[in-house]
Subunit: 339 residues, 2 copies
């Protein structure tokens, strides 16, 4: 049977569609008597407003797109976990897309996003997009980009201070007396901006301590996952002069590296100290648990949602801002041992 429409309700209740609409939305004041009649009709027909039709009139969809490279990357999963309830509290549904880091797909997404009206705004964590790609985005699309970038003043960025955080992580290892510190995760090409910031912090810490950087210890990896961490660690340990510590650009990379180190019979942290980045739950349960840089994910999620909804709600385009969420270093057994 066809779903009941507002018209059906009006007919049954003996009132006009206008009145039904008033009752449903609580817009205008309605007589108690009329309201009762309408509500009875609604119940009897099992009427539910058609969201699509309503949205068409309002010119908005009530949906927020969240685009991440990989859903099974714990960092993104944990972020989404925080984004979804926040959006729901503010009346928005979350539409998820994953790009697999495919630049084509990512570009396509931000380009066509604007007018489609399938979603009113977007929170986007790009992987294969350069600054240029992002500049080409339709500025009328309410957009918040995750991860630190040089702001172009058009949309918002939400992230932590990657350079400072990486400097702290590296300084932590230096402070522990380590001198041959490797870095796993550099991405020396246009789309690797985030990785490059971390490398910069790594260098700064060395400079601050008056130590040289052994460039051969800076290992690039295409992705920030376990497999890449394992591979890089293997190459590092095959050298005649392996490192005594490693700064990994994500916890996943650190977990992959840890796996290889233990497999080779190294003691962590005695022979090799390890620190990661992201503070995913998995790192708290690994053996040993891994030290990490913990970004304030709740703040990042909340800010991203709030900013994009503010943009949606605003009639005139808001200037793009750069938001830096807090972070802190969490020392665990992979660097400080059982101390």
């Amino acid at each position: 049977m066809r779903d009941a429409t507002l018209r059906d309700v009006a007919l049954l209740a003996g009132v006009s569609p206008r009145t039904v609409s008033n009752v449903v939305n609580g817009y205008a004041r309605v007589t108690d008597h009329t309201r009762a009649k309408v509500e009875r009709a609604i119940a009897e027909l099992g009427y539910r407003p058609n969201v699509l039709a309503r949205n068409l009139v309002y010119g908005r969809s009530g949906q927020l797109a969240v685009v991440v490279p990989y859903l099974d990357t714990p960092y993104f999963a944990e972020l989404l976990q925080a984004i979804i309830p926040r959006a729901r509290d503010r009346g928005y549904n979350v539409l998820i897309d994953q790009t697999d880091g495919d630049p084509e797909h990512e570009r396509d997404l931000v380009r066509r996003a604007g007018r489609a009206l399938l979603f009113d705004g977007m929170i986007f964590s790009p992987l294969g997009l350069s600054q240029d790609d992002l500049t080409a985005v339709d500025p009328s699309l309410p957009l918040v980009v995750l991860g630190e970038r040089v702001s172009n003043g058009v949309f918002d960025h939400v992230g932590i201070d990657d350079v400072a955080a990486s400097r702290e992580a590296t300084a932590h290892l230096i402070g522990l007396g380590r001198r041959r510190i490797a870095a796993i995760g550099d991405q020396p090409y246009p789309t690797g901006e985030a990785a490059q910031l971390r490398t910069r912090g790594y260098r700064q810490a060395h400079t601050d301590a008056g130590l040289p950087v052994d460039e051969s210890l800076v290992i690039p990896t295409p992705r920030f996952n376990r497999a890449d961490g394992s591979g890089a660690m293997r190459r590092l340990l095959d050298r005649p002069d392996p490192p005594d510590a490693v700064f990994c650009y994500s916890d996943l990379v650190a977990l992959g590296a840890l796996h290889v180190a233990l497999e080779r019979g190294l003691r962590v942290p005695e022979d090799l100290a390890l620190i990661g980045y992201d503070d995913i739950e998995e790192g708290r349960y690994s053996n040993p648990p891994i030290s990490t840089i913990s970004p304030d994910k709740a703040a990042i999620a909340a800010t991203a949602v709030d900013r994009v909804l503010d943009r949606i709600g605003s009639t005139e385009p808001l200037p793009g801002v750069e938001v830096r969420a807090a972070h802190r270093l969490v020392p665990r057994r992979s660097t400080v041992g059982r101390g």
Copy 2:
């Protein structure tokens, strides 16, 4: 500036809306000349069809809701990772909701789902819903439920054979010579149907081997996460007669248990053998890697999407079917050691 509408394009191209619609959707044949005119106008105005309006006419939203208890549970993240591209290939967007396992929220979701028209169908992985709750669902909603259940004949179920898989996991431990085998994850209440199936398999394996079950080794946990695994393991190891093996109802539980065992100085698997369930990537990288039951996630995702889209496409209600995806036991070092 207001977005261009189909009407604007028609005006500019000097044709009727009908013709523009034809060009956009490739419905009827259009003269090359006319087509060119229209396309020029589209390009000039930067016209994009309004999806909302189109959907209103079609009476469908082109969206598929996927509801999971927790997004940051790797098993669900990995499943979603497979569901999203499959749905996209078939022209559907994925709308995600997480319920935190809240029965109220879950019940609410399946109840109101039907007519809202925000999504055309739903793939649902319930946690706090009993068979009764599910039976109350509007049968006109194209729905696929994840996880094994007794079918009620109304909607589809997709899962693996939990009893058989659990029997194999337990038999694997028995075959290794273990005799005091604990089980972590039972849920002896109406909403714990899935857990109970695993307990049943655990028992069957004992019966098959002519061994008694020590009921005090069956440990219930409210959730299937790391913290619950840790807690249960702690209680188990505090006993005077700790187990020599553990069957965990999820890899996350196993990882939590492993963490505690190693912390207490136990050797795994020499002192304690561990097997999990789900085959999440994390278990392949833990130290030692954990043996597990590996469900065919790709098949589960593909089947779930296909079934729900078939239901959406069908005019008359399809009978509910029970789909059993394949699974296999993956032995790793947490049970077989470095053999």
